[in-house]
Protein backbone atom coordinates (compact mmCIF):
# COMPACT_ATOMS: atom_id res chain seq x y z
CA UNK A 1 0.00 0.00 0.00
CA UNK A 2 1.11 3.52 -0.62
CA UNK A 3 1.06 4.83 2.90
CA UNK A 4 3.23 7.84 2.25
CA UNK A 5 0.41 9.54 0.40
CA UNK A 6 -2.06 9.31 3.20
CA UNK A 7 0.15 11.51 5.35
CA UNK A 8 -0.69 14.50 3.22
CA UNK A 9 -3.79 16.53 3.62
CA UNK A 10 -6.52 16.01 1.03
CA UNK A 11 -5.54 19.30 -0.53
CA UNK A 12 -2.23 17.75 -1.58
CA UNK A 13 -3.95 14.89 -3.28
CA UNK A 14 -3.48 16.11 -6.80
CA UNK A 15 -1.43 14.33 -9.39
CA UNK A 16 0.89 17.21 -10.21
CA UNK A 17 4.19 17.97 -8.47
CA UNK A 18 6.77 20.69 -9.14
CA UNK A 19 8.73 18.07 -11.06
CA UNK A 20 5.92 17.15 -13.38
CA UNK A 21 5.03 20.78 -13.87
CA UNK A 22 8.62 21.51 -14.88
CA UNK A 23 8.57 18.47 -17.10
CA UNK A 24 5.37 19.71 -18.68
CA UNK A 25 7.01 22.98 -19.64
CA UNK A 26 9.99 21.17 -21.14
CA UNK A 27 7.64 18.94 -23.12
CA UNK A 28 5.73 21.93 -24.51
CA UNK A 29 8.98 23.48 -25.62
CA UNK A 30 10.11 20.16 -27.07
CA UNK A 31 6.91 19.72 -29.04
CA UNK A 32 7.23 23.21 -30.46
CA UNK A 33 10.81 22.56 -31.53
CA UNK A 34 9.85 19.17 -32.95
CA UNK A 35 7.08 20.68 -35.04
CA UNK A 36 9.37 23.37 -36.36
CA UNK A 37 12.11 20.89 -37.23
CA UNK A 38 9.78 18.26 -38.62
CA UNK A 39 7.64 20.49 -40.77
CA UNK A 40 9.84 23.39 -41.79
CA UNK A 41 13.49 22.62 -41.33
CA UNK A 42 14.13 18.97 -42.14
CA UNK A 43 14.40 18.07 -45.81
CA UNK A 44 11.93 16.07 -47.85
CA UNK A 45 12.84 12.47 -48.54
CA UNK A 46 14.15 11.29 -51.86
CA UNK A 47 11.56 8.60 -52.20
CA UNK A 48 8.83 9.63 -49.83
CA UNK A 49 8.73 13.33 -50.57
CA UNK A 50 7.05 15.62 -48.05
CA UNK A 51 5.09 12.81 -46.52
CA UNK A 52 8.18 11.64 -44.70
CA UNK A 53 7.37 14.21 -42.05
CA UNK A 54 4.75 11.88 -40.68
CA UNK A 55 7.60 9.67 -39.60
CA UNK A 56 8.48 11.99 -36.74
CA UNK A 57 5.27 11.06 -34.99
CA UNK A 58 4.81 7.56 -36.38
CA UNK A 59 8.10 6.01 -35.40
CA UNK A 60 8.43 7.51 -31.90
CA UNK A 61 4.82 6.50 -31.30
CA UNK A 62 5.55 2.87 -32.10
CA UNK A 63 8.76 2.79 -30.14
CA UNK A 64 7.26 4.41 -27.08
CA UNK A 65 4.39 1.98 -27.22
CA UNK A 66 6.98 -0.80 -27.13
CA UNK A 67 8.68 0.90 -24.21
CA UNK A 68 5.39 1.31 -22.39
CA UNK A 69 4.50 -2.33 -22.80
CA UNK A 70 7.94 -3.41 -21.67
CA UNK A 71 7.57 -1.22 -18.60
CA UNK A 72 4.22 -2.86 -17.97
CA UNK A 73 5.94 -6.23 -18.17
CA UNK A 74 8.76 -5.22 -15.83
CA UNK A 75 6.37 -3.73 -13.28
CA UNK A 76 4.33 -6.89 -13.46
CA UNK A 77 7.41 -8.95 -12.65
CA UNK A 78 8.14 -6.60 -9.78
CA UNK A 79 4.61 -7.13 -8.54
CA UNK A 80 4.75 -10.88 -8.86
CA UNK A 81 8.11 -11.16 -7.15
CA UNK A 82 7.32 -11.56 -3.47
CA UNK A 83 10.07 -9.29 -2.15
CA UNK A 84 9.00 -6.29 -4.17
CA UNK A 85 5.27 -6.97 -4.16
CA UNK A 86 3.34 -3.73 -3.97
CA UNK A 87 0.23 -2.37 -5.60
CA UNK A 88 2.30 0.57 -6.76
CA UNK A 89 3.91 -1.71 -9.32
CA UNK A 90 0.52 -2.84 -10.45
CA UNK A 91 -0.64 0.72 -10.91
CA UNK A 92 2.48 1.59 -12.86
CA UNK A 93 1.84 -1.43 -15.05
CA UNK A 94 -1.73 -0.32 -15.67
CA UNK A 95 -0.83 3.31 -16.29
CA UNK A 96 1.94 2.34 -18.66
CA UNK A 97 -0.34 0.00 -20.61
CA UNK A 98 -2.92 2.72 -21.01
CA UNK A 99 -0.36 5.17 -22.29
CA UNK A 100 1.10 2.45 -24.50
CA UNK A 101 -2.29 1.84 -26.10
CA UNK A 102 -2.54 5.56 -26.70
CA UNK A 103 0.84 5.71 -28.41
CA UNK A 104 0.17 2.59 -30.40
CA UNK A 105 -3.04 4.25 -31.51
CA UNK A 106 -1.10 7.32 -32.61
CA UNK A 107 1.28 5.12 -34.56
CA UNK A 108 -1.57 3.23 -36.19
CA UNK A 109 -3.38 6.38 -37.22
CA UNK A 110 -0.31 8.17 -38.52
CA UNK A 111 0.83 4.97 -40.19
CA UNK A 112 -2.39 4.54 -42.05
CA UNK A 113 -2.42 8.18 -43.10
CA UNK A 114 1.08 7.74 -44.35
CA UNK A 115 0.07 4.56 -46.11
CA UNK A 116 -2.72 6.43 -47.85
CA UNK A 117 -0.16 8.84 -49.23
CA UNK A 118 2.65 6.47 -50.19
CA UNK A 119 0.91 3.15 -50.85
CA UNK A 120 -2.42 4.61 -51.87
CA UNK A 121 -4.33 2.82 -49.13
CA UNK A 122 -5.14 3.27 -45.49
CA UNK A 123 -4.63 -0.33 -44.68
CA UNK A 124 -3.15 -3.40 -46.20
CA UNK A 125 -2.56 -6.91 -44.93
CA UNK A 126 1.06 -6.48 -44.39
CA UNK A 127 2.67 -8.48 -41.59
CA UNK A 128 3.90 -5.44 -39.69
CA UNK A 129 0.53 -3.78 -39.83
CA UNK A 130 -1.33 -6.91 -38.85
CA UNK A 131 0.90 -7.82 -35.97
CA UNK A 132 0.70 -4.23 -34.78
CA UNK A 133 -3.07 -4.48 -34.80
CA UNK A 134 -2.88 -7.71 -32.80
CA UNK A 135 -0.59 -6.09 -30.28
CA UNK A 136 -3.00 -3.20 -29.96
CA UNK A 137 -5.96 -5.50 -29.39
CA UNK A 138 -3.99 -7.63 -26.94
CA UNK A 139 -3.47 -4.64 -24.71
CA UNK A 140 -7.10 -3.65 -25.04
CA UNK A 141 -7.83 -7.15 -23.74
CA UNK A 142 -5.34 -6.54 -20.95
CA UNK A 143 -7.16 -3.37 -19.98
CA UNK A 144 -10.50 -5.22 -20.14
CA UNK A 145 -9.17 -7.80 -17.70
CA UNK A 146 -8.01 -5.03 -15.39
CA UNK A 147 -11.57 -3.76 -15.40
CA UNK A 148 -13.09 -7.11 -14.45
CA UNK A 149 -13.51 -6.19 -10.81
CA UNK A 150 -12.56 -8.07 -7.69
CA UNK A 151 -10.06 -7.00 -5.10
CA UNK A 152 -7.01 -4.91 -5.94
CA UNK A 153 -4.71 -7.85 -5.38
CA UNK A 154 -6.78 -10.05 -7.63
CA UNK A 155 -6.74 -7.43 -10.36
CA UNK A 156 -2.99 -7.10 -9.96
CA UNK A 157 -2.31 -10.81 -10.07
CA UNK A 158 -4.43 -11.54 -13.12
CA UNK A 159 -3.23 -8.63 -15.15
CA UNK A 160 0.42 -9.23 -14.26
CA UNK A 161 0.25 -12.74 -15.70
CA UNK A 162 -1.40 -11.41 -18.80
CA UNK A 163 1.16 -8.64 -19.20
CA UNK A 164 4.03 -11.11 -19.12
CA UNK A 165 2.48 -13.10 -21.94
CA UNK A 166 1.52 -10.05 -23.96
CA UNK A 167 4.94 -8.46 -23.92
CA UNK A 168 6.26 -11.43 -25.87
CA UNK A 169 4.38 -10.19 -28.90
CA UNK A 170 6.67 -7.21 -29.26
CA UNK A 171 9.54 -9.13 -30.85
CA UNK A 172 6.99 -10.64 -33.19
CA UNK A 173 5.95 -7.18 -34.32
CA UNK A 174 9.48 -5.91 -34.57
CA UNK A 175 10.83 -8.84 -36.53
CA UNK A 176 7.70 -9.33 -38.60
CA UNK A 177 9.31 -7.40 -41.46
CA UNK A 178 12.07 -9.96 -41.60
CA UNK A 179 9.89 -12.98 -40.98
CA UNK A 180 7.63 -12.06 -43.84
CA UNK A 181 8.61 -10.09 -46.89
CA UNK A 182 6.55 -7.01 -46.55
CA UNK A 183 5.74 -3.63 -47.92
CA UNK A 184 6.53 -1.91 -44.69
CA UNK A 185 9.81 -0.22 -44.02
CA UNK A 186 12.53 -2.56 -42.78
CA UNK A 187 14.08 -1.73 -39.46
CA UNK A 188 16.24 1.06 -40.82
CA UNK A 189 17.30 2.84 -37.66
CA UNK A 190 17.53 0.18 -35.02
CA UNK A 191 17.93 -2.75 -37.37
CA UNK A 192 20.92 -4.75 -38.39
CA UNK A 193 23.12 -3.51 -41.19
CA UNK A 194 20.90 -1.92 -43.79
CA UNK A 195 22.03 0.20 -46.66
CA UNK A 196 19.62 2.99 -45.92
CA UNK A 197 21.52 6.14 -45.04
CA UNK A 198 19.50 8.75 -43.27
CA UNK A 199 20.10 12.40 -43.69
CA UNK A 200 21.73 13.85 -40.56
CA UNK A 201 19.02 16.40 -39.88
CA UNK A 202 16.31 13.82 -40.39
CA UNK A 203 18.02 11.53 -37.96
CA UNK A 204 18.32 14.34 -35.45
CA UNK A 205 14.64 15.25 -35.83
CA UNK A 206 13.68 11.65 -35.35
CA UNK A 207 15.91 11.51 -32.31
CA UNK A 208 14.27 14.64 -30.95
CA UNK A 209 10.86 13.11 -31.57
CA UNK A 210 11.83 10.06 -29.57
CA UNK A 211 13.08 12.23 -26.72
CA UNK A 212 9.94 14.36 -26.67
CA UNK A 213 7.69 11.31 -26.83
CA UNK A 214 9.67 9.71 -24.01
CA UNK A 215 9.21 12.78 -21.83
CA UNK A 216 5.53 12.79 -22.70
CA UNK A 217 5.36 9.14 -21.75
CA UNK A 218 7.00 9.78 -18.40
CA UNK A 219 4.68 12.70 -17.70
CA UNK A 220 1.56 10.75 -18.61
CA UNK A 221 2.51 7.65 -16.65
CA UNK A 222 3.38 9.66 -13.56
CA UNK A 223 0.04 11.39 -13.61
CA UNK A 224 -1.96 8.35 -14.47
CA UNK A 225 -0.21 6.24 -11.87
CA UNK A 226 -1.01 8.81 -9.24
CA UNK A 227 -4.61 9.12 -10.27
CA UNK A 228 -4.91 5.34 -10.13
CA UNK A 229 -3.41 5.47 -6.65
CA UNK A 230 -6.01 8.06 -5.72
CA UNK A 231 -8.74 5.83 -7.13
CA UNK A 232 -7.48 2.98 -4.98
CA UNK A 233 -7.26 5.28 -1.97
CA UNK A 234 -10.80 6.38 -2.64
CA UNK A 235 -11.77 2.72 -2.60
CA UNK A 236 -9.94 2.29 0.68
CA UNK A 237 -11.47 5.32 2.33
CA UNK A 238 -14.78 4.16 0.92
CA UNK A 239 -14.05 0.93 2.74
CA UNK A 240 -13.43 2.84 5.97
CA UNK A 241 -16.78 4.56 5.65
CA UNK A 242 -18.52 1.34 4.75
CA UNK A 243 -16.93 -0.39 7.74
CA UNK A 244 -18.13 2.33 10.06
CA UNK A 245 -21.61 2.14 8.59
CA UNK A 246 -21.74 -1.64 8.90
CA UNK A 247 -20.53 -1.53 12.49
CA UNK A 248 -23.18 1.05 13.29
CA UNK A 249 -25.72 -1.28 11.71
CA UNK A 250 -24.59 -4.00 14.10
CA UNK A 251 -25.06 -1.60 17.02
CA UNK A 252 -28.55 -0.86 15.78
CA UNK A 253 -29.45 -4.52 16.01
CA UNK A 254 -28.04 -4.79 19.54
CA UNK A 255 -30.49 -6.10 22.05
Amino acid sequence: MNTSMSKHSPRDRVTGTPFTRGLGVVILAGITLLIILAIFVSPADVNQGESVRIMYAHVPGAWLAYLAFVVTGISSVAYLWKRTRSLTWDRIAGASAEVGVLFMGISLVTGSLWGRITWGTYWTWDARLTTTAFLFVTYIGYLAVRGLGGTHQQRARRSAVLALLAVLEIPLVHFSVQLWNTLHQEASVAGRGTDVEMDGLMLFTLFLGVVVFTLMYVWLVLHRQRSLALDDMLDDSGLDNALTARRAEAQGVAR
Binding site: G149, A242, L243, R246, R247, A250, V253
Partner: protein
Protein backbone atom coordinates in the same frame (compact mmCIF):
# COMPACT_ATOMS: atom_id res chain seq x y z
CA UNK B 1 -8.92 -40.95 14.64
CA UNK B 2 -8.36 -37.75 12.67
CA UNK B 3 -4.75 -36.75 12.73
CA UNK B 4 -3.80 -33.29 13.94
CA UNK B 5 -0.72 -31.43 14.89
CA UNK B 6 -0.42 -31.68 18.62
CA UNK B 7 -0.55 -28.44 20.54
CA UNK B 8 -2.87 -26.64 18.14
CA UNK B 9 -6.17 -26.76 19.84
CA UNK B 10 -7.45 -23.38 18.72
CA UNK B 11 -8.53 -24.31 15.23
CA UNK B 12 -10.00 -20.99 14.17
CA UNK B 13 -8.68 -17.77 15.57
CA UNK B 14 -9.94 -14.53 14.04
CA UNK B 15 -9.52 -11.13 15.56
CA UNK B 16 -11.10 -8.07 14.03
CA UNK B 17 -11.13 -9.77 10.65
CA UNK B 18 -12.38 -7.77 7.68
CA UNK B 19 -13.29 -9.40 4.37
CA UNK B 20 -14.45 -7.41 1.39
CA UNK B 21 -16.76 -8.47 -1.46
CA UNK B 22 -16.53 -6.02 -4.32
CA UNK B 23 -16.24 -2.91 -2.20
CA UNK B 24 -18.58 -4.02 0.56
CA UNK B 25 -17.19 -5.13 3.93
CA UNK B 26 -19.25 -8.29 4.26
CA UNK B 27 -17.19 -9.11 7.34
CA UNK B 28 -16.61 -5.93 9.30
CA UNK B 29 -14.31 -6.87 12.13
CA UNK B 30 -15.19 -10.38 13.22
CA UNK B 31 -13.57 -11.91 16.27
CA UNK B 32 -14.02 -15.59 16.85
CA UNK B 33 -12.11 -18.44 18.39
CA UNK B 34 -13.05 -22.07 17.93
CA UNK B 35 -11.43 -25.04 19.66
CA UNK B 36 -10.83 -28.48 18.31
CA UNK B 37 -13.79 -30.81 18.61
CA UNK B 38 -16.39 -28.07 18.77
CA UNK B 39 -19.49 -27.97 16.57
CA UNK B 40 -20.26 -24.30 16.12
CA UNK B 41 -23.56 -23.07 14.72
CA UNK B 42 -23.45 -19.77 12.85
CA UNK B 43 -26.81 -18.06 12.93
CA UNK B 44 -27.96 -14.61 11.92
CA UNK B 45 -30.09 -12.77 9.40
CA UNK B 46 -29.74 -12.95 5.63
CA UNK B 47 -26.76 -11.05 4.37
CA UNK B 48 -25.11 -10.93 7.79
CA UNK B 49 -21.88 -12.47 6.52
CA UNK B 50 -22.12 -16.14 7.45
CA UNK B 51 -21.14 -17.40 4.02
CA UNK B 52 -18.35 -14.87 3.87
CA UNK B 53 -17.03 -16.00 7.25
CA UNK B 54 -17.00 -19.62 6.13
CA UNK B 55 -15.24 -18.78 2.88
CA UNK B 56 -12.67 -16.73 4.73
CA UNK B 57 -11.91 -19.64 7.06
CA UNK B 58 -11.62 -21.96 4.06
CA UNK B 59 -8.92 -19.74 2.56
CA UNK B 60 -11.11 -18.89 -0.42
CA UNK B 61 -11.19 -15.12 -0.03
CA UNK B 62 -8.47 -12.82 1.20
CA UNK B 63 -8.31 -11.37 4.68
CA UNK B 64 -8.34 -7.65 4.06
CA UNK B 65 -7.57 -6.41 7.57
CA UNK B 66 -7.18 -7.83 11.05
CA UNK B 67 -5.65 -11.17 11.98
CA UNK B 68 -6.68 -14.69 11.28
CA UNK B 69 -5.31 -18.19 11.78
CA UNK B 70 -6.90 -21.45 10.76
CA UNK B 71 -5.33 -24.74 11.85
CA UNK B 72 -2.33 -22.73 12.88
CA UNK B 73 -1.89 -21.29 9.38
CA UNK B 74 -1.83 -17.55 8.89
CA UNK B 75 -4.65 -16.44 6.58
CA UNK B 76 -2.85 -13.31 5.49
CA UNK B 77 0.09 -15.06 3.89
CA UNK B 78 -0.60 -18.73 3.41
CA UNK B 79 -4.29 -19.16 2.92
CA UNK B 80 -3.79 -21.63 0.06
CA UNK B 81 -2.27 -24.05 2.59
CA UNK B 82 -5.49 -24.18 4.56
CA UNK B 83 -7.49 -25.59 1.72
CA UNK B 84 -6.51 -29.18 1.53
CA UNK B 85 -7.08 -29.67 5.23
CA UNK B 86 -10.56 -28.20 5.21
CA UNK B 87 -13.77 -29.70 3.87
CA UNK B 88 -16.17 -27.13 2.48
CA UNK B 89 -19.68 -27.24 1.14
CA UNK B 90 -21.24 -24.01 -0.05
CA UNK B 91 -24.60 -23.02 -1.46
CA UNK B 92 -23.68 -24.81 -4.70
CA UNK B 93 -23.09 -28.52 -4.98
CA UNK B 94 -20.16 -28.55 -7.41
CA UNK B 95 -21.30 -31.64 -9.29
CA UNK B 96 -20.88 -32.70 -12.91
CA UNK B 97 -24.33 -33.27 -14.35
CA UNK B 98 -23.18 -35.72 -17.03
CA UNK B 99 -21.46 -38.04 -14.60
CA UNK B 100 -23.26 -40.50 -12.38
CA UNK B 101 -23.59 -40.18 -8.64
CA UNK B 102 -20.86 -42.69 -7.93
CA UNK B 103 -18.53 -41.18 -10.52
CA UNK B 104 -18.99 -37.77 -8.97
CA UNK B 105 -18.33 -38.98 -5.46
CA UNK B 106 -15.34 -40.97 -6.59
CA UNK B 107 -13.96 -37.97 -8.44
CA UNK B 108 -14.25 -35.69 -5.45
CA UNK B 109 -12.93 -38.37 -3.14
CA UNK B 110 -9.90 -39.05 -5.27
CA UNK B 111 -8.97 -35.40 -5.71
CA UNK B 112 -8.25 -35.42 -2.01
CA UNK B 113 -6.62 -38.81 -1.95
CA UNK B 114 -9.46 -40.88 -0.55
CA UNK B 115 -9.36 -44.60 -1.22
CA UNK B 116 -11.99 -46.57 -3.05
CA UNK B 117 -13.20 -48.10 0.22
CA UNK B 118 -13.65 -44.67 1.74
CA UNK B 119 -15.66 -43.53 -1.25
CA UNK B 120 -17.92 -46.57 -1.08
CA UNK B 121 -18.40 -46.07 2.63
CA UNK B 122 -19.40 -42.45 2.02
CA UNK B 123 -21.91 -43.47 -0.63
CA UNK B 124 -23.47 -45.96 1.74
CA UNK B 125 -23.41 -43.47 4.56
CA UNK B 126 -25.52 -41.00 2.57
CA UNK B 127 -27.86 -43.68 1.26
CA UNK B 128 -26.66 -43.37 -2.33
CA UNK B 129 -25.92 -46.97 -3.13
CA UNK B 130 -28.51 -48.86 -5.14
CA UNK B 131 -30.44 -47.42 -8.09
CA UNK B 132 -29.24 -43.87 -7.61
CA UNK B 133 -25.53 -44.67 -7.78
CA UNK B 134 -25.59 -45.10 -11.54
CA UNK B 135 -27.95 -42.25 -12.39
CA UNK B 136 -26.45 -39.12 -14.00
CA UNK B 137 -26.55 -36.27 -11.52
CA UNK B 138 -28.53 -34.10 -13.94
CA UNK B 139 -31.51 -36.39 -13.39
CA UNK B 140 -31.54 -36.21 -9.62
CA UNK B 141 -33.96 -34.30 -7.44
CA UNK B 142 -32.67 -31.30 -5.49
CA UNK B 143 -32.24 -33.25 -2.29
CA UNK B 144 -30.52 -36.14 -4.02
CA UNK B 145 -27.99 -33.71 -5.48
CA UNK B 146 -27.29 -32.27 -2.08
CA UNK B 147 -26.75 -35.76 -0.72
CA UNK B 148 -24.28 -36.52 -3.47
CA UNK B 149 -22.33 -33.39 -2.70
CA UNK B 150 -22.26 -34.27 0.98
CA UNK B 151 -21.08 -37.78 0.19
CA UNK B 152 -18.17 -36.29 -1.72
CA UNK B 153 -17.33 -34.32 1.40
CA UNK B 154 -17.73 -37.26 3.75
CA UNK B 155 -15.32 -39.28 1.63
CA UNK B 156 -12.42 -37.14 2.78
CA UNK B 157 -11.07 -36.91 6.28
CA UNK B 158 -11.01 -33.17 6.78
CA UNK B 159 -9.74 -31.64 10.01
CA UNK B 160 -12.13 -28.75 9.77
CA UNK B 161 -15.60 -28.96 8.24
CA UNK B 162 -17.19 -25.78 7.01
CA UNK B 163 -20.79 -26.25 5.95
CA UNK B 164 -23.09 -23.62 4.52
CA UNK B 165 -26.72 -24.59 5.10
CA UNK B 166 -25.98 -28.27 4.59
CA UNK B 167 -29.48 -29.36 5.59
CA UNK B 168 -31.25 -27.36 2.90
CA UNK B 169 -33.08 -29.78 0.62
CA UNK B 170 -32.35 -32.92 2.62
CA UNK B 171 -35.23 -35.03 3.84
CA UNK B 172 -35.67 -36.12 7.45
CA UNK B 173 -33.49 -39.23 7.10
CA UNK B 174 -30.80 -37.29 5.30
CA UNK B 175 -30.69 -34.73 8.06
CA UNK B 176 -30.27 -37.36 10.69
CA UNK B 177 -27.54 -39.11 8.74
CA UNK B 178 -25.67 -35.87 8.24
CA UNK B 179 -25.91 -34.90 11.89
CA UNK B 180 -24.62 -38.28 12.88
CA UNK B 181 -21.65 -37.98 10.52
CA UNK B 182 -20.80 -34.57 11.89
CA UNK B 183 -21.05 -35.67 15.50
CA UNK B 184 -18.82 -38.64 14.83
CA UNK B 185 -16.27 -36.46 13.08
CA UNK B 186 -16.24 -34.04 16.00
CA UNK B 187 -15.88 -36.87 18.47
CA UNK B 188 -12.90 -38.11 16.50
CA UNK B 189 -11.17 -34.75 16.86
CA UNK B 190 -12.38 -32.77 13.85
CA UNK B 191 -13.94 -29.37 14.18
CA UNK B 192 -17.23 -28.35 12.56
CA UNK B 193 -18.71 -24.98 11.74
CA UNK B 194 -22.22 -24.90 10.28
CA UNK B 195 -24.22 -21.94 9.03
CA UNK B 196 -27.93 -22.60 9.18
CA UNK B 197 -31.32 -20.98 9.43
CA UNK B 198 -32.99 -24.07 10.83
CA UNK B 199 -32.32 -23.07 14.37
CA UNK B 200 -34.15 -25.77 16.31
CA UNK B 201 -32.55 -28.56 14.35
CA UNK B 202 -29.07 -27.08 14.29
CA UNK B 203 -29.19 -26.24 17.99
CA UNK B 204 -29.49 -29.93 18.75
CA UNK B 205 -26.37 -30.59 16.75
CA UNK B 206 -24.18 -27.75 17.91
CA UNK B 207 -22.09 -27.56 21.01
CA UNK B 208 -21.98 -23.81 20.75
CA UNK B 209 -23.92 -21.06 18.97
CA UNK B 210 -22.59 -17.85 17.60
CA UNK B 211 -24.56 -15.06 16.01
CA UNK B 212 -23.36 -13.14 12.98
CA UNK B 213 -24.89 -9.69 12.68
CA UNK B 214 -23.90 -7.09 10.13
CA UNK B 215 -20.48 -8.61 9.60
CA UNK B 216 -19.66 -9.07 13.26
CA UNK B 217 -19.71 -12.08 15.53
CA UNK B 218 -21.50 -12.28 18.89
CA UNK B 219 -21.33 -15.14 21.31
CA UNK B 220 -24.54 -16.77 22.48
CA UNK B 221 -24.29 -18.98 25.56
CA UNK B 222 -24.27 -22.74 25.13
CA UNK B 223 -27.69 -23.94 23.98
Amino acid sequence: MIAHEPGIDVVIDLSDAVAVLGSFPALAGATLSVNRGEIVLLRGPNGAGKTTLLRLCAGLIPLERGHGQVLGIDLKNDRELVRHRVGVIGHNNGLYGDLTVSENVRFWGRTVGATRAEVDAALRRMGLDGRLADLPVSRLSAGQKRRTALAGLVARRAELWLLDEPHAGLDATGRDELDQVLKMAAAAGATVMVASHELERAAQLATRQVEVVAGQVREIGAP
